[in-house]
């Protein structure tokens, strides 16, 4: 029971957290670019753009920050066995993340918000750049930590726990070197589709055409670059994972039996209990091609990998939940492909975007595509790691807190889900309300609210 609740809690809090984070990562950079344009040209339009998109950035930013606090502490709360076992390694990147990234981010976001009149233009611009760099720097360190769970490196087992022996190896973990650029470009992609989606909505209404046309252009350029990166890096990352975590990728493909050449399954009915697929719709040889860029090549199946794991670690079920991995992978890749197409069209259309009514109708909906890809990408990354907490080193049942009763986890799970859900509703409401406002209304300063009540 404790295990089920603790796992749901981690999945739920992480999913909520990562609902907000990618937009923070990407939009910070885009707002910084727009403000740079303002400082360079002195054109008030770009100042207005900075304020409009910056306001939305801040509403989203707050939720990313507060949901992140729980992430840092729940390792100790629910996973104290894990914290003892890998704390020597895992704690370090978390501490560096706080020292190097969170302090910069939190201090300079405050100066940026309140400093429009207090600082010179260039100093104020530097603040948002520091925020943009620091938020992405924080993702560097948390991904280094996550990469250790996916692909442990630079450690030795001493006295029953993992000890760091090679810090440079930890921060150059091959898993991280693929994961970070993927996450970084996914964030930029999220920011770009966010800007394009909202701009398209306004353009369709025929309001503030110049303002949103320019905004759309920034979104289109950034989106095109980002989506090419995210898809391209994702491809190589997948090939790398076939080597590094073959079980994860075999589950993502519902590939039960080792074969050469291996077929790519488009849709399947998955029967985890009998370790086979009840129905398959597939393309011959494509999985070999995706794995090795060649239509032949052996791709190991789940059943053989299970046998290998049993030889290494003793009896047990080492196959992750295949259906979740399989469908998460398809949702992520499907959303990515759609984004690629839309980003290309956006780039072609952006000069006369106000006339492309059908496309303008599509883009506000397409705003959700990165969210789908982000969420299910992490589902694949984390469910694909099961039943391991630290790949090949520690299983979930060895990592859980032994002293925390199910009732406590239940209370905190219920409380967190309730509060997160309520706050998320409020946050999305505020985002929508602010996104629909005309940028012209933004300059009504908060100071005028003084007479609101007595």
């Amino acid at each position: 029971m404790e295990m089920v609740l603790a796992r749901i809690q981690f999945a739920a809090t992480s999913t909520y957290h990562f609902f907000f984070v990618p937009l923070t990562l990407g939009l910070a950079i885009l707002v910084a670019i727009i403000q740079t344009r303002y400082v360079r040209t002195g054109d008030e339009k770009y100042k207005k753009m900075t304020k409009f998109w910056g306001n939305l950035f801040l509403i989203n930013f707050a939720m990313g920050v507060v949901t992140g606090i729980v992430q840092e502490f729940q390792f100790g709360m629910n996973w104290s066995g894990y914290s003892r076992y890998v704390g020597d390694i895992f704690g370090a990147p978390l501490a560096v993340e706080a020292l190097l990234a969170f302090f910069i981010e939190s201090t300079f976001i405050g100066i940026w918000i309140f400093g429009w009149e207090r600082l010179g233009k260039k100093a104020h611009l530097a603040c948002i750049w520091l925020v943009a760099i620091a938020t992405n720097l924080s993702s560097v360190w948390i991904l280094i930590a996550n990469s250790f769970m996916q692909n442990p490196v630079g450690y030795e087992i001493v006295g029953g726990r993992a000890q760091m022996v090679d810090f440079p190896a930890l921060i150059t973990n091959s898993h991280f070197l693929y994961q970070f650029p993927h996450v970084f470009s996914a964030g930029l992609c999220t920011g770009a589709f966010f800007i394009m989606g909202i701009s398209a909505w306004h353009l369709l209404k025929g309001r503030d055409i110049d303002f949103f046309k320019t905004s759309f252009k920034y979104g289109a350029i950034a989106g095109f670059i980002a989506v090419i990166l995210v898809v391209g890096i994702g491809h190589f990352q997948g090939q790398h994972l076939v080597q590094e975590q073959p079980m994860k990728m075999a589950a993502a493909e519902a590939h039960w039996e080792t074969s050469d050449p291996a077929d790519f399954i488009i849709f399947a009915g998955i029967d985890q209990e009998n370790r086979t697929n009840s129905a398959e719709f597939k393309i011959g040889g494509l999985l070999s091609f995706m794995s090795y860029n060649s239509f032949s090549g052996e791709v190991k199946g789940l059943n053989d990998l299970q046998a290998e794991m049993e030889t290494l670690h003793g009896p047990g079920d080492y196959i992750p939940p295949v259906a979740i991995n399989f469908w998460s992978f398809r949702l992520m890749v499907g959303a990515g492909m759609l984004m690629l197409l839309l980003a290309l069209l956006a780039l072609i259309f952006q000069g006369k975007i106000e006339d492309k009514k059908v496309f303008l109708r599509l883009m506000p909906i397409a705003l959700f595509l990165p969210y789908i890809a982000n969420t299910f990408g992490w589902f694949l990354a984390e469910f694909g790691r099961q039943p391991w907490l630290v790949y090949n080193l520690q299983t979930l049942s060895e990592g859980i807190s032994t002293v925390v009763p199910a009732s406590s986890i239940g209370i905190s799970l219920a409380g967190l889900v309730l509060v997160y859900t309520l706050l998320m509703i409020v946050d999305v409401y505020l985002l929508v309300a602010s996104a629909r406002k005309s940028p012209e209304l933004l300059d009504a300063p908060a100071g005028k609210e003084g007479s609101l009540w007595i």
Partner: protein
């Protein structure tokens, strides 16, 4: 000095930074609905901590990260053991963080009032609970031979620890009032903040005397010379601060209350040294800076990182206070 001791001191420093900085913004948060009666007044109050509170909170996140990195067993035992108390603190921090951001976004009196009270309650709960937690640090808690917590939520609530909660609640309230007296540029707000500051300072002094006496007779406080020296400095600073508050020298008063907070924290850390979690079941089972720590290699890496970064952090956080050194008034609300 070995690295274990250095990291114990560093964690102490991070907690000092956290209690000193977040202390005043918890205080200001609690005071929001009381020291401000109109929307504009409350905006002034919130804006006095507006550019700071997020950076202040990171001291806690960093302290948590540092404990995890340097003393993984301390991190694991503390957070799994103090589970529900910590959960309430986390929930409060979540609500608090968004309240500052959400409050101004809708121009409706009911909306604003709701978030003002959310700020107040979510500042009050951690202010109280940190005192409870810290008092448990010096009394010790049931920890078994496997470094695991063997009590429950109610084990943490004793007369002494609850009194400790009242101490930090009043200390942060007072500290926040002094901060507001320095930073608010609105006469009505100033008047109320000064009044609350003067009264809470006196009550705080009385409660603190009781808590220290309690600690002296029932905990390991008296056997640590450093803790005794620290508590003496804290006491002098507190009395000085309250006198300064009554004589309207708020700058000195605020600095003295900061010194109080710093030395109360030193008292707690010195009283438990070299333990990081004292076992009330068997002293042999306590977690110490040695049996709870990371490997020398990790400590070395983290020492290099911390010694490079902490001075830089201090520079830009101080710069932040310089940029926003002016009093916040109603006619210049930028946000």
């Amino acid at each position: 000095m070995d690295l274990n001791i250095l990291w114990f001191i560093l964690v102490c420093v991070l907690f000092i930074g956290f209690f000193f900085l977040e202390g005043f913004d918890y205080g200001v948060g609690m005071l929001t609905p009381f020291a401000g009666k109109t929307d504009g007044e409350r905006r002034v109050i919130i804006n006095t901590i507006g550019p700071f509170w997020d950076g202040n909170e990171v001291w806690l996140i960093t302290a948590g990260g540092a404990v995890f990195a340097a003393f993984p067993h301390w991190y694991a035992t503390l957070f799994s053991g103090f589970y529900l108390a910590l959960f309430v603190i986390l929930l409060a921090l979540i609500v608090r963080g968004v309240s500052f951001e959400f409050r101004g976004k809708v121009a409706s009196p009911a909306w604003r009032k709701f978030w003002d009270w959310a700020i107040c309650v979510s500042s009050f709960l951690p202010a109280l609970l940190w005192g409870v937690a810290v008092s448990n640090f010096i009394t010790g808690v049931p920890i078994d031979a496997n470094m695991e917590y063997a009590g429950n939520f109610f084990t943490l609530l004793t007369p002494f620890t609850l009194l400790g909660g009242v101490v930090t609640f009043l200390l942060f309230l007072y500290h926040g009032a002094a901060f507001l007296a320095l930073k608010a540029g609105d006469d009505a707000v100033l008047e109320r903040a000064r009044g609350i500051g003067r009264v809470s300072g006196v009550v705080l002094t009385l409660v603190t005397v009781a808590w220290v006496a309690f600690a002296f007779f029932t905990t390991g406080l008296k056997s640590s010379p450093i803790a005794l020296a620290a508590v003496a400095i804290a006491a002098v600073a507190l009395v000085l601060s309250v006198i300064m508050a009554w004589t309207k020298r708020w700058g000195t008063s605020f600095i003295a209350s900061a010194v109080t907070i710093a030395f109360v924290t030193v008292t707690v850390f010195a009283a438990m040294f070299p333990n990081v979690m004292i076992s009330s079941l068997n002293p042999e089972w306590s977690l110490t800076i040695y049996n709870a720590s990371s490997s020398p290699y990790t400590l070395k890496i983290m020492t290099v990182v911390a010694l490079c970064l902490v001075p830089i952090i201090l520079i830009y956080q101080i710069m932040n206070f310089v940029i926003f050194k002016k009093r916040v008034t109603q006619d210049k609300l930028e946000y």
